[in-house]
Symmetry: C2
Subunit: 126 residues, 2 copies
């Protein structure tokens, strides 16, 4: 597994179980993030914390479906489950020589989001 | 269908049935092409003609599997059949304001290529 694939897999694992700081540590300083692609370009710790901090306190999981690496870049498809939502996402990433993420663009639209109604008898979520 | 999706669909149709000149006309002047991503960056008519000209005279087909558009960019997966080869490709494109392609990066590796034995040769399969 090459270093870029390792970063993708680490990033997806941390989206599911990591802290906001651990997720942001996958990114190089000055990295740019578009989530969704075509939306505002986020950069810097404060803007990334706002994006990824929204995951904290929610039950989360990620499931990688496919991954292609070419040059210092990757494109991959995965499902992000967060609370009652499941989002089918395709992300395009570029990396620096230390395999830190220098740019991320997440391709998804409302059509790619499924919302599950919460079962009323379930145990309380965190 | 937005203009960027139209360009992708036109490009895929031309990969199957178009001339080299028609394919190249989908690109903006100065567009860059990496095929595969991580390989040499091609630019200018001569370099694009060399790449796409290799398709001429071969029986070709394309089959779009999925497409995501975000901002002036798109990512999509398709199968390109050319002669005895079938390649499962994921491409990332960016576009100018006229929906001409300004960059294309094709993510595929030898693992994504299937070669069919010619139907006229009943030779044993490897």
């Amino acid at each position: 597994m090459d270093a870029f694939e390792q970063t993708v897999r680490r990033y997806l694992a941390l989206l599911a179980t990591g802290t906001t700081a651990e997720i942001i540590d996958c990114f190089a300083p000055g990295a740019t993030v578009e989530d969704p692609a075509g939306g505002p370009v986020l950069t810097g710790p404060a803007e990334l914390e706002k994006l990824y901090g929204s995951l904290e306190g929610r039950r989360r999981a990620t499931d990688l479906h496919w991954l292609r690496v070419g040059g210092p870049s990757a494109v991959f498809g995965f499902t992000l489950s967060a609370g009652a939502h499941e989002i089918d996402v395709v992300e395009v990433m570029t990396f620096d020589t230390e395999a830190k993420i220098t740019s991320m663009r997440a391709f998804w639209s409302p059509d790619d989001v499924v919302t599950h109604s919460s079962p009323t008898t379930a145990a309380p979520e965190r």
